[in-house]
Amino acid sequence: MTVTTPDRVPAVEAEAAAPAVVSPLRRFWIDFRDSKVAVAGLAGCILIVALALLAPFISPQNPYDLAQLDIMDGRLEPGAAGMDGTIFWLGTDDQGRDMLSGILYGIRISLAVGVASGVLAMAFGASMGLLAAYFGGRVDTLIMRVVDLQLSFPAILLALILVAVLGQGIDKIIIALVAVQWAYYARTIRGTALVERRKEYIEAARCLALGDARVVFRHLLPNCLPPLIVVGTVQVAHAIALEATLSFLGIGLPITEPSLGLLIANGFEYMLSGKYWISFFPGVALLLTIVSINLVGDQLRDVLNPRLQK
């Protein structure tokens, strides 16, 4: 369940890394496009985001409107025609939901869940981890013990409590995922920051009597950023998979608004009976999404890691 930073590396000051003539951003792009695979991953990411945004306009059907579905069209094979003559190119699920539309809308939900929970968890977790490392003492104790508590609390129980208290919904799932994930970020960044804050530049900043907030967010945070970005990309992918698992256990998203994960979980029971398309196509879509995000993440890590700079 955890993804921890693969390399805890002290980053040098950004200016020092960049040659004088090229702007840091441009330099970054030059390094990034070095890998063809990563560029392909980036293209994939852009395509997927575009599909997600455009889903309502390009889908043959609104898969979330139950009145548009008909169980008599249920479990049709890819390419089969429905009762009113529509062709379902990727087949239908048990409710007669067009898989193509379901996947397009599903990408939307999965990405929204993955990115929103990833960003929120990272923002909250990183702040907590930084505070813990910077202030030490009681603050550190308190935060790290809450982290202990959080890490040993099962996501399933948390999700079930949220469903019971708040009801079902995408926002509730995001809350659950943030609650589950922030602790990983906090622990990761605290480790990095503990090392960083002993370094001269922090001492120097303090000697200049800069405010705590300024030291933490302007100096400490940027130097802890590279591992965080890497963890972030992996964690977004992981959040999408985690949401699928929660859906599989029956405490995920509303059944009538399936994400990719929920589509896979629903189709799962048809795997043994040979109706592969219900879970296979969403599976492929999920895989492509996650692979694209990770290819970009991998390259980011290499580019941002000053020790690998050529």
């Binding site: 040993s152 129980l157 002993r198 992981h238 599976g283 895989l287 690998l308």
Partner: protein
């Protein structure tokens, strides 16, 4: 050091308190366990009697107080569903899960480190790229899906391995273990591999990253300049350096493997702790949930404690005294 230890112990007690309180409130928020446990044919009076028998008619704070009193004497209560002491039920399941966790960790290290080293040593080669692409699959495929695929291929189609359950056990030092029987191993292999997949991907990535960094470092250049064989440089010097982060992070992961192998244990009907916690949650079996989480939180506290000590050993700049935690 002693001060550090005592402080940590005291904090642990506070965390345990907090955990038990959260579970009490959380389970209360989900619902009344009796509604799940009782026979649908039972009438209202019978339902009230059952609620009373399990002490669920008391106000929540009073229920918690009763629990605390008993907990201080080491009694964590009896399972609502099983009627046996919660602690005993968990301990019964422990060997199965520990076996699974250790086997999964073993697989992920034995497979992950060589692959990661190869990928780090030849990052541009086809093999290196293929390994990295494969590791992404390890992260992204939902565990339940991979589990069923493994069963389909190896148990149903090929018939090489059994599909579910735990194999023959033998008693070793009072524990029922299945890793000493051939039958036990055949049952263990698929779930362990399923569970290992994610960790394996993690190990591959950590090893590759470490490998790439270390190969560029001065000590490697010196060692080579000294005329040491490339094999010796990599397998002795570099390996030693990349093992440190791998071991640290796997140590942290061990906790989650033991505590939450829920999906794998469900798919493979492995009678371990993960299956117990999901069943208990589904039945709102509060005594088992509380006891279970108290055990896991203790385990996590212990692991984090060890990691903090390791940090200070690995990196002298981080001092325990300063961490005060």
């Amino acid at each position: 050091m002693t001060v550090f230890l005592i402080r940590r112990l005291m904090q642990a007690v506070v965390v345990l308190f907090a955990m038990s309180l959260i579970v009490f409130v959380g389970v209360y928020a989900i619902g009344n366990p009796i509604d799940i446990l009782i026979s649908p044919e039972a009438d209202q009076l019978e339902r009230e009697r059952a609620i009373h028998a399990l002490g669920l008619d008391l106000p929540l704070w009073e229920q918690y107080f009763v629990f605390l009193q008993r907990a201080l004497t080491g009694d964590l209560g009896r399972s609502f569903a099983f009627g046996a002491p919660a602690l005993q039920i968990i301990v019964e399941r422990m060997p199965a899960t520990l076996e699974l966790a250790v086997a999964a960790m073993g697989i992920s290290i034995l497979v992950g480190i060589p692959l990661g080293m190869w990928a780090g040593f030849r990052p541009e080669s086809f093999g290196g790229r293929a390994i990295m692409a494969g590791s992404i699959l390890g992260f992204s495929l939902p565990t339940f899906w991979v589990g069923l695929m493994l069963i389909m291929v190896f148990a149903v189609h090929l018939g090489w391995l059994p599909s579910t359950g735990r194999g023959e056990t033998v008693e070793v030092l009072g524990l029922q273990l299945s890793i000493f029987t051939w039958n036990g191993w055949t049952h263990l292999l698929l779930p362990a591999f399923n569970l290992a997949l994610f960790k394996m991907a993690l190990v591959i990535r950590l090893t590759r990253a470490g490998m790439r960094e270390n190969l560029l470092m001065d000590y490697v250049k010196f060692a080579r300049a000294k005329g040491l064989s490339p094999g010796r440089v990599i397998f002795v010097h570099v390996l030693k350096n990349i093992m440190i982060p791998v071991v640290t992070i796997l140590g942290l992961e061990l906790g989650s493997v033991i505590a939450f192998a829920v999906v794998t244990e469900t798919i493979f009907s492995w009678p371990g702790m993960g299956k117990l916690i999901i069943d208990s949650i589904n039945q709102l079996d509060r005594p088992v949930i509380v006891a279970y989480l108290l055990i896991t939180v203790s385990m996590f506290i212990f692991i984090n404690f060890v990691v903090d000590i390791l940090y200070s050993v690995l990196d002298p700049r981080v001092r325990l005294k300063e961490m005060k935690s």
